[in-house]
């Protein structure tokens, strides 16, 4: 699904050269849930930016879902981001002036879907994260966890090949964080490929694969057994419960 081979990303300033990524190689298979950890400044953000085609790289090869991305034009990169990647950001990155519906709808518009297709997808995605009833709300009217779920819905609506999550629970309290994580795990169970940057070792331990970035290089491979999830509830059931509590 995602193949990085000897990727280097060098930031150049007047006096110093910083190797944010140095001969970085990683291969993520379809259906994997990969947690990327590492100390701050290690290059994990750069990795995510490069992986998400938000930033370019200086050397190496990168293949996303069978498409080699080096040398692609800006428009083609936009298209790839739009179609193949779903982003989940630490601070949600919802557009505050837009309603929930409009936020989820936004990337679909760039995809060129018809209005009815967009409507169907937005509602379906919001259904998946349990926010189908809040279409007209503004982000500011939702809790942080709910906002992040909107962001997940936005990422899902385009049916991407891979989800990239950047500290998705970084701004959330533990309860909300757990709900978000549950959604991600459910999605993974449903077949989604997920790469998640996190600093939380517990979260890292829960996933199928954990990689660590140190000094711009892949430091270690440790594969943990998925955590036994005792509740056995489906995600949407959990969310409904939460809503009933509210």
């Amino acid at each position: 699904m995602l193949k990085m081979n000897n990727i280097s990303r060098i930031y150049q300033s007047d006096t110093i050269q910083t190797h944010a990524l140095r001969d970085f190689s990683l291969n993520v298979k379809a259906g994997e849930f990969v947690a990327v950890t590492g100390p701050s400044g290690s290059g994990k953000s750069t990795f995510l930016n490069v992986a998400g085609l938000l930033d370019n790289f200086d050397r190496g090869q990168y293949e996303l879902d069978g498409v080699s991305v080096q040398g692609l034009k800006d428009d083609e990169l936009s298209r790839l981001r739009n179609e193949k990647i779903g982003f989940i950001f630490q601070n949600y990155n919802l557009i505050p002036d837009y309603s929930i519906f409009d936020n989820v709808d936004m990337p679909l518009r760039y995809r060129g879907f018809s209005a009815s297709e967009r409507k169907r997808r937005v509602e379906e995605a919001l259904e998946k994260v349990g926010l189908a009833s809040r279409l007209k709300y503004l982000p500011s009217q939702l809790s942080g966890g709910q906002q992040q779920r909107v962001a997940i819905a936005r990422a899902l609506a385009g049916e991407p090949k891979i989800l990239l999550a950047d500290e998705p629970t970084g701004n959330l309290d533990s309860l909300m964080a757990r709900q978000v994580m549950e959604i991600l795990h459910d999605l993974n169970k449903g077949g989604a490929t997920i790469i998640m940057v996190t600093h939380d070792p517990d979260q890292a331990r829960e996933v199928s694969r954990n990689v660590q970035v140190i000094d711009g290089q892949l430091a270690d491979f440790r594969i943990y057994a998925p955590l036994d999830r005792s509740t056995g509830k489906t995600v949407s059931a959990a969310v409904k419960e939460e809503m009933a509590d509210a």
Partner: protein, 404 residues
């Protein structure tokens, strides 16, 4: 493009958007009315005068010496002037008149048929009919078109102190006012007996086109001191040559004259509307400045909002918006503002039109003008915001993952 969402985000910055919209509206209002003024003036300048204006030269002059108090002397000099001018190559005919066509007041008098003096009460324009004292050449010089009867002849000329009114030519609209559709030939007016009717020419542009009442009598030699204007009909292409020679020619006959104006009839028309034109030009200049200022504002407005929206543009880019999507997004936002500004501007144009018409006369705005002026606003605004818009589309998507 999600227009509804755009509108909503505009509403969230009411003040700056409001200011720009107001500016656009005022600019459009002024632009439309300035264009109206300019068009009105052009229309006035282009209106039919019934004269071959390019080929008629007007020489206005005044004797400066006391000798001219002797009217016989005055007349002899004038006769010599007329003959000498006529001999100039390119001059087809020369006549002398007390006043020019295309003028506001001048020598006016009431005109009525001797059998019907009351007619003056029914038509106020009959009280102020232009009375032309001229000679037999006028019909030829102005190339008047005869409707019926004949032009004035040498025999119609009246001498000093004549008790008679003599024979007159009248304009067609005056004939209609006095005699309707019937013939006027042989009718006796208080100004003389009608021997001919000519098609209207533009006598006073400030009164209606069908009220161009004029009476021409062969009396300028009788009142020779009123003969301030020589009119020269010049063969096409000779006007400049003749213009350069006339002053010297006249002064060679007798030097004690002040020739204060030598212009063509076309220039005379321009002169008549000089202040209308000047005002229109002033307004257009102000429009130019206003568009300039509004363009700066549009630029600042875009720049300002882009600086605030950088992050969101980054998010859009991250989520798959292409550069051109962003460009279109920014421009659409501006166009939406311009559209609102233009719609308000229509109201502004009407209000401004009413306000201005308290002071000056101008036509009402029309739809075509509104669309054209709006197009100007759109083009100017788009040009002004193109650079910030392009800059915005260059915002890298990586901004999205930066925390503030």
């Amino acid at each position: 493009m999600n227009i509804k969402a755009l509108l909503k985000s505009l509403l969230l910055r009411k003040f700056t958007t409001g200011l720009l919209i107001l500016q656009l509206a005022i600019t459009l209002g002024l632009l439309i009315n300035s264009a109206i003024l300019a068009l009105d003036t052009n229309e006035k300048l282009a209106q039919k005068t019934g004269l071959d204006a390019e080929n008629i030269l007007i020489v206005s002059l005044q004797p400066t010496s006391g000798n001219y108090r002797d009217l016989d002397y005055f007349r002899s000099i004038v006769s010599e002037d007329l003959q000498t001018l006529h001999k100039l190559p390119g001059v087809e005919s020369v006549s002398l008149v007390n006043q020019l066509p295309i003028n506001r007041r001048g020598m006016l008098g009431n005109v009525y048929d001797l059998d019907d003096p009351e007619s003056v009460r029914k038509d106020k324009y009959l009280q102020d009919v232009k009375i032309f004292l001229t000679n037999e050449e006028l019909g030829k010089t102005l190339a008047l078109a005869l409707v019926e009867g004949r032009f004035l002849t040498k025999d119609d000329e009246l001498d000093f102190g004549s008790e008679k009114n003599g024979n007159v030519l009248i304009t067609e609209s005056l004939k209609k006012a006095l005699y309707g559709e019937g013939s006027a030939l042989g009718q006796e007016t208080n100004n003389g007996r009608v021997v001919g009717v000519v098609k209207d020419i533009m006598l006073d542009p400030t009164i209606p086109i069908d009220k161009q009442y004029g009476v021409f009598g062969n009396r300028v030699m009788e009142y020779v001191f009123t003969g301030r204007n020589y009119l020269l009909k010049v063969t096409a292409g000779h006007i400049d040559k003749v213009r350069n020679q006339v002053s010297d020619t006249i002064l060679a006959v007798q030097p004690e004259r002040d020739i204060y104006r030598v212009i063509t009839m076309a220039e005379h028309l321009q002169r008549f509307y000089r202040h209308d034109k000047g005002l229109a030009q002033l307004f257009l200049m102000l429009c130019g400045l206003m568009i300039f200022v509004t363009a700066i504002s549009s630029y600042a407005y875009s720049q300002f909002h882009i600086s605030r929206q950088k992050k969101f543009i980054g998010i859009r880019r991250a989520l798959g918006a292409r550069k051109k999507d962003i460009l279109l997004y920014v421009l659409t936002e501006n166009w939406l503002v311009y559209s609102i500004g233009c719609v308000l501007g229509l109201g502004m144009a009407l209000a401004f039109n009413i306000l201005l018409s308290q002071y000056i006369s101008l036509s009402k705005p029309d739809m075509m003008l509104f669309l054209l002026a709006s197009a100007v606003i759109f083009v100017a605004g788009t040009l002004a915001t193109l650079i910030p818009a392009i800059k915005t589309s260059n915002i890298p998507p990586v901004i999205a993952t930066r925390t503030v």
